[in-house]
């Protein structure tokens, strides 16, 4: 029995329904990610999907605020609200209002909303999986969140991936002190960061045009593009930067800190220093990083960094913090393309109890109850269908273990089991025997 497709009702563009085969995969992947987070001692945490607009304002840059943030008025109070744009700002807002034992290590898997142009790996409603260490200013905390995301990648079967590493203080030091961008005023460096962040989207020419548009001269643009070109083995590159900018305090602080991060990391071989990787968000203050795979070309699968000032901005004391955000849809979309995951599993049901005739309905339901009591995932027909139709349903859903009940079984209190994969059949076995077989052969 099929329902034909026909409806004028849909979900808004960039939003998605997740049918069971997709949700089963998503839940499995979220389980793996949460498992890694918990092994590092991060605890689960939740915030509302709605925040006061006031809370989000001024945290992400003007372009985000005007083009990407879902803002609306409470229909009753008229207060301005917004759908959360990330999970970091709500965390900072929460921490500022609490007396917490530090470090506060929390993870949060949840939806965020951005009014982006929908495309592969990019949706308007999507999931982030965040792990943050609130309270530690030390490089070993940055190293830990990088190790966490590397463990996530490995646990999901990604063998080839790069972590591009940078430090906002490195760029700020060079841009403000060497290029003297500070003479353009406080916010100019953030504007430059946002321009560089578009490198992959709009290319070198695009970034140069953007830098010119925001008022920089051609020699400044050239120098910025020269800095952005620096990338390579992190230790060597850091030593070179240190030698070149040894009088620049910001650069030296950043180099020291990054050396500490690399030293404490157990994934040194995955790290590349890349000065073109700046992250789009305004609130970063120290090390930043993004995780990439060579193929498919889908953008960063994860990213994060240090934000030592953010909690202060919500009225809390200065609380150095660092964290990582894993993009669930990109992890899934890339993994599907790479063949790491598939959507073959259609149901969690392990066993279907097929009733050969309506006379045995009640017996079939009793058998179903007994099997459930043993923890098995069991369906019994609810459609009053012939046993053939019941078998068709099992076929479509890919249910492997079929338990038949007919006259012989009902009269002897037994069942007959058939496993589709190995074509094994067990005739009229007692229920406790059946449970043993089913436990062994279901997954």
């Amino acid at each position: 029995m099929e329902v034909s497709a026909s409806t004028k009702y849909s979900v808004p563009r960039g939003f998605r329904d997740f049918p069971p085969e997709v949700t089963l995969l998503r839940k499995r992947i979220i389980g793996v990610i949460e498992g890694v987070f918990e092994r590092y001692g991060f605890d689960p945490f939740e915030t509302p999907v709605i925040e006061y607009w006031e809370t989000l304002k001024g945290k992400y840059g003007e372009e985000v605020e005007s083009k990407l943030l879902y803002r609306f008025q409470d229909p009753w109070s008229g207060e301005w609200l917004a759908l959360r744009y990330d999970l970091t700002v709500p965390l900072a807002r929460f921490v500022a209002g609490q007396a917490l034992t530090l470090p506060f290590k929390r993870y949060h898997v949840g939806r965020v909303w951005r009014h982006e142009r929908p495309q592969k790996g990019r949706y308007r409603e999507f999931w982030q999986c965040d792990a943050d260490i609130v309270g530690s200013p030390y490089p070993e905390a940055d190293a830990e969140v990088i190790d966490v995301v590397c463990d996530v990648m490995e646990s999901l079967g990604y063998s080839e991936f790069r972590v591009r590493l940078n430090d906002r203080r490195l760029l700020r030091g060079i841009f403000e002190e060497e290029l003297n961008l500070s003479r353009y005023g406080e916010g100019k460096v953030l504007e430059v960061f946002r321009a560089i962040d578009k490198l992959e989207k709009i290319g070198r020419d695009g970034v140069e045009a953007e830098l010119t548009r925001i008022g920089l001269g051609s020699s400044e643009v050239e120098k910025i593009m020269g800095v952005v070109d620096v990338s390579g083995n992190p230790e060597e590159t850091l030593n070179e930067l240190e030698a070149q900018f040894k009088e620049n305090e910001s650069v030296c602080t950043a180099v020291d800190h990054l050396k500490g991060v690399i030293d404490a990391s157990s994934h040194k071989n995955n790290l590349t220093l890349d000065l073109s990787m700046v992250r789009g968000l305004d609130y970063y203050t120290g090390p930043i990083f993004e995780v990439y795979v060579e193929e498919p070309k889908i953008g960063a699968l994860a990213g994060g960094g240090r934000y030592d000032d953010l909690i202060e901005r919500y009225g809390g004391p200065r609380t150095p913090s660092t964290g990582v955000s894993v993009g669930l849809e990109r992890i899934i979309d890339a993994g599907l393309e790479l063949g790491l995951f598939n959507l073959e599993r259609k149901t969690c049901t392990q066993v279907f109890v097929v009733s050969m005739d309506e006379k045995y309905w009640s017996y079939a339901h009793n058998v179903g109850r007994e099997l459930r009591r043993e923890g098995l995932k069991v369906q019994v027909d609810l459609m009053r269908r012939s046993y053939k139709k019941q078998l068709e349903y099992c076929e479509k859903k890919g249910i492997n273990a079929i338990v038949f009940v007919g006259e012989k079984e009902a009269s002897t209190g037994t069942v007959t089991i058939y496993f589709k994969d190995g074509k094994r059949r067990y005739e009229q076995v007692a229920l406790n025997e059946a449970i043993k077989f089913l436990r062994q052969e279901t997954y």
Copy 2:
């Protein structure tokens, strides 16, 4: 190290942050509920939190639309959107647009929003845990969703609970044909249902006033209140109703169907027929039910019913469906009050590796890595604190297993373990030995 509480930033009224001790409990309870759903062969499923206003319009009644539904305009397109009000309407919208294999048994645990007055067990952002059977018109499907919710209650430790059962056709038959309410027009019966639904909130007098307000005469009001008073053992009461209204087709259909439900249920003893229980939502067409505990007085913990017309209203073919919605916050709030649950567990961390001096930091981190590789949930100090401060942190978080590394341990490649609960101590044991102890004694 504590962060002092001080902030002008908060979440909107009726919205909540969930710190780790709350989220740990919530995740455990959601796990139990999802476990029961899966044992009955329901598969996980997700929809966006935002729907087009058009999708929700006309499904819940006028009062809900004007007072409770979060409606807003898309800031860019100007389209009217809304936060979902329940999980049933999005399911119906989805099913109508798909060619699905039936029965489609899905579960969905997710947030919904209602602009209610916040109070105990009632929030503006809250979670529903829904299980629905799409495609079966038969009483055994209704019985299954009732069995599911009873299994959920029992699995969570609730020993005393009642399922109040009714059928919209029972009331409709009596109200329309016996009291001739149809002469007031199509929607009058729904208005009467909504008035009766407020019985617990506003009392008998309140309901009578409400019925008068919507235009019913005093003898009609009296007769309605007489019907509403019917409650008791379901089989007996159904037989009485059948005898009294044997010419009334709606009533007889409902009585037959309810007898089938009771017959197929494995939780007969929990059922009460209660004609005052009408459910507030407009879309129900057959059996309806709600789950209550005697104490605390917190309203229904779960409820559900049959909605055979809803999918049709989204352009799909007529697809009889039935389901249940478990109210997560009421389950938790009532369970906390009854002592079924507590918030004592502050962290999922099982092991803390205490470094006796900074000389052993690197060894401590290596030990942490090894333990994590074995699946243990492990923290290592990230704050460069003295071992005393590290122990204070463990104390505050309630971490039971402490792994010490100092000079002796580092030089011999061993660790010393201390379990706080049993005060057991194992000096300088090899790491593989340590893993065995930790596996046995952590939870």
